[in-house]
């Protein structure tokens, strides 16, 4: 089986499993919504204008929900023993990585597409422009690229779910900072062209860590 056909087969398997159970999606979505609402209470009385903190709220909600989704994606695989099956399949380890990465990316992006209109309604803002979606996609990709490797690590540790955010958040910081900055600047009416530095950081992060993940994922999946 060639490389990309294996990748597509793994993504398709994840999508079909998800369509049947809605397990990952529902927990991510409800958690993201709860985070947004909790932040509303946490900030409302002290912040002069809630619009000032919306970029932060969006990105923290994405990070939290994304962590949850990544964990679920691997815990489900492991509990049912299907991870072992995946490892026995005659495909390159890198194909497993890209398959899981694309699956995770899809789930996160679907959650974002649904959570954004809600944030727009809550805070009376416009967040659904192509620029916003591009920023979101680049940031989410970085998150998933690193998160997929770390989730595969975390699921094998004693602490399981607790381990992932501890591993992931310090490494993720550049994406989070750049994401908050860019979403904020776009909300202030700046053009994407004036955000070149931030875009560069995120793109370097995305490309660089995809390469590192590609090179190291085999060691994580070794049994």
């Amino acid at each position: 089986m060639n490389f990309w056909r294996a990748v597509i087969a793994i993504v398709w398997k994840d999508i079909r499993a998800e369509l049947r159970t809605k397990d990952i999606f529902s927990s991510m979505f409800v958690f993201a919504l709860l985070t947004v609402i909790l932040f509303n209470f946490a900030f409302e009385l002290r912040v002069p204008d809630m619009k000032m903190v919306v970029p932060g709220i969006v990105w923290v909600a994405i990070s939290f929900a994304g962590t949850l989704g990544l964990n679920r994606a691997f815990v489900i695989e492991q509990d049912k023993g299907s991870l072992a099956g995946l490892l026995l399949a005659p495909v390159d380890r890198a194909a497993i990585y890209f398959g899981k990465l694309i699956g995770n990316l899809l789930f996160m992006f679907v959650v974002e597409i649904i959570i954004l209109p809600l944030v727009m309604i809550f805070y009376n803002l416009s967040l659904l422009s192509p620029e916003h979606l591009l920023v979101l996609l680049l940031g989410t990709y970085g998150f998933a690229a690193v998160g997929t490797v770390f989730a595969a690590i975390a699921v094998n540790t004693r602490a399981r779910e607790v381990m992932l955010p501890i591993l992931l958040f310090p490494v993720l910081l550049p994406v989070l900072i750049a994401g908050v900055k860019m979403t904020g600047a776009l909300l202030d009416g700046e053009l994407l062209g004036s955000l070149g530095n931030w875009l560069q950081i995120v793109v370097v992060y995305d490309v660089g860590f995809t390469v590192v993940a590609y090179l190291t994922f085999g060691y994580v999946m070794e049994e």
Binding site: V146, R158, P170, V171, I201
Partner: protein
């Protein structure tokens, strides 16, 4: 006493002498910095401790990364021992650099802490390696622990420059020692500064040698325990 043990004792004595001489030079021989308030002038001498500590922590984490790559490439337990040993030393000196910097910041900036890029990056670096040790402690199988820790160690170290760049767009108030035009220390200070750097670097390698030996002894004890059925 075999050859390598004797070499280590010798190196330990050299490191001790160097650190003592560097401390003497830093406290008594180096000239006062010009144009500072009395409080700041005294606090400025922290540079002979603070900068070498920071350098040492980065050196240590760099060695951890190289040892991690070597472990993944060769699969020898020795490299995992080097990686974990160096990371431990790195964490200790990260704390030393942070604490000494904080003591200096109070008279110089009138605050113990600011969200300056270097301070913030440093805090993140600290958290990265705390996570590294939490990951290690959550894994029982030694081979798997070594493999996962090596992968995480590589990711962690590579993220540091990007983190630094991204935090840097905020305005910084940290004094810049090395810029392209000149070096921010006077002539009398430079030899003392470099002496401190050398002393700390030698000290690092001594610590690393002891720590790696400890790690190897620990593995031997584990192996013996297994044989005896504990």
């Amino acid at each position: 006493m075999n050859g390598s043990a004797r070499g280590l004792v010798f190196l330990t004595l050299v490191a001790a002498a160097l650190v003592l001489v560097a401390a003497y030079a830093a406290l008594l021989m180096a000239p006062n910095a010009a144009g500072l308030t009395p409080d700041e002038t005294a606090a400025q001498r922290i540079i002979y401790f603070h900068v070498p500590s920071a350098w040492l922590s980065m050196l240590a984490f760099g060695v951890t990364t190289i040892a991690s790559i070597a472990y993944l490439a060769k699969g020898r337990r020795f490299w995992d021992g080097v990686a974990v040993s160096s990371a431990e030393i790195g964490i200790a000196f990260t704390l030393a650099a942070t604490a000494s910097g904080s003591l200096w910041a109070k008279p110089a900036w009138n605050t113990w802490w600011t969200w300056d890029p270097r301070l913030t990056t440093y805090t993140i670096v600290f958290l990265l390696y705390v996570a590294y040790f939490m990951l290690r402690s959550a894994l029982e199988d030694p081979a798997r622990r070594a493999r996962f820790a090596a992968v995480y160690g590589i990711f962690a170290f590579l993220s540091v420059p990007i983190t630094f760049m991204s935090i840097r767009w905020w305005r910084t108030i940290h004094p810049v020692l090395l810029d392209s035009k000149n070096f921010g220390l006077s002539r009398g200070m430079l030899p003392v500064f470099f002496l401190s750097l050398i002393a700390f670097t030698v000290f690092y390698f001594v610590l690393l040698a002891y720590r790696v030996r400890l790690e190897r002894t620990r593995e031997q004890v584990d192996a013996l325990k297994e044989q005896l059925g504990y």
